[in-house]
C-alpha cells in the first residue's frame, strides 16, 4: 500500500469508527440469516430430489443389486465384480451411487447449502443410504445383510468424500 493509500485508508477507517450508528431494520438480519444458514430440512429436500433423479439415472451405468430399469448391457457393477470380487463390488457400487448425487449437488447448491449438508453429513448420508436400500428392496432387489452392510459402508465413504471434496473445491473458488 502506498503512503497516500495508507493515509486515505486510515482517514476512512477513523471515519468508519466514528460513524453514527443507523438503526438497522430487523428484516435485514432475517434475510441474511436465510441466505447464510439455510434450513437443513429444505437443503435435505433438495439433496433428496437430486438423489432420486441421479440415483435412478445412475442405474443405467451401474446396476445396483442387479436392478437394470434401462436394460443396458454394460454395467460398472460387472467391472467392479471382475476387478475386486463381490465384496469390493458392493462397496464400489455404494461409493458410486452416493458420489454422483453429491457431485451434482455441488453444481446446483450454494456454498452455504453445502455447509449445511456438511454439518449433518453423517445423518444425511445415513438416511439417504438406508432410504436407497429400502427403495431397491421395494423395486425387487434381493438384499443380503452382508452385502447391504458393505454397500452402506461404500455409500458412507462416497458421500463423505464427495461432500468434503466438493465443499473444499467450492470454498477455494469463493
Amino acid at each position: 500500500m502506498k503512503t497516500t493509500d495508507k493515509e486515505n485508508w486510515l482517514k476512512e477507517y477513523t471515519e468508519f469508527t466514528t460513524s453514527d450508528e443507523v438503526s438497522v431494520p430487523p428484516g435485514i438480519f432475517s434475510n441474511l440469516k436465510k441466505r447464510l444458514f439455510p434450513n437443513p430440512w429444505m437443503v435435505f429436500g433438495k439433496v433428496l430430489s437430486i438423489h432420486v433423479g441421479v440415483g435412478f439415472l445412475s442405474l443405467g451405468i451401474c446396476h445396483q443389486f442387479g436392478l437394470n430399469p434401462f436394460n443396458t448391457e454394460h454395467s460398472l457393477m460387472d467391472w467392479f465384480m471382475r476387478v475386486g470380487g463381490h465384496n469390493f463390488c458392493m462397496i464400489a457400487c455404494g461409493v458410486f451411487f452416493m458420489t454422483t448425487t453429491y457431485l451434482l449437488a455441488n453444481l446446483i447448491l450454494s456454498l452455504e447449502e453445502l455447509e449445511t449438508i456438511r454439518r449433518f453429513e453423517w445423518l444425511q448420508s445415513g438416511v439417504l443410504g438406508v432410504a436407497s436400500l429400502a427403495a431397491f428392496y421395494f423395486f425387487g432387489a434381493e438384499l443380503v445383510a452382508t452385502f447391504a452392510g458393505l454397500w452402506i459402508i461404500g455409500a458412507f465413504i462416497g458421500a463423505l468424500l464427495a461432500i468434503e471434496g466438493s465443499y473444499k473445491f467450492r470454498r477455494s473458488l469463493a
Partner: protein, 182 residues
Amino acid sequence: MGKSDLADKSDEDLMEIYKMGNAIAFEILFERHSGRVLGYLSKRLKLPREAKDLLQEVFFKLHRSRHLYNRTLPFSPWLFSITRSIWLDFLKKRQLEDATEQEQLERMVPTTQEFAISDSNAGIEILNQLPANQKEAVSLRVYDEATFEEIAIKLATSPENARQLVNRGLKRLKALLGPRKE
C-alpha cells in the same frame, strides 16, 4: 453456547467461535456492528435501499471470508476492509454501467438528431413506438439530461428501474433506427 454466554466476549473471540460454526456469535457481531456499517454506507449512498443491500453484502462477505480471519489482529479494521471493498466494488460496477450507457448515448444521440432533422415527424413516430414509460425515460435522459434519481421521481419508480427503462428504450430505439450512417 447461548447468547447470554457469548454477550461478554470480545469481537475477536466471537469470530473464533463463529469460525467453529456457532451462528449465535455471528448474530452478536451483526448486532454490534451493523449500525455503524450502515451509517458509514448511508453517508456515501443517496438511496437508503442501496445502503441496506450493501450492508447485507458486507456481512455476507464476512461470512464467506471468516476462515481468513486472523485472531491475532483486531476485528474492527478487518470489518472495515470488507466494508470498503464492497463499497469500492459497488462504485466500479456503477461506473462500468454508466460508461456503457454513456457509450450507448453517444452512439444514439447523433443518429436520432440526424433523423429528427431530416424528418422530424418520422423521428417522433419512432419514439412513439416505444412503450410509454421507456419513451418518457429516454426523452428525459437524452433531451432533458435528467439524472436517474430525477427520472425515477417523475416516473414514480426506483432509480434502478429508471436506469433499466432508459437502457431498454435506447436498445429498442437503436433497433428501430437501424445501423448508424457513417
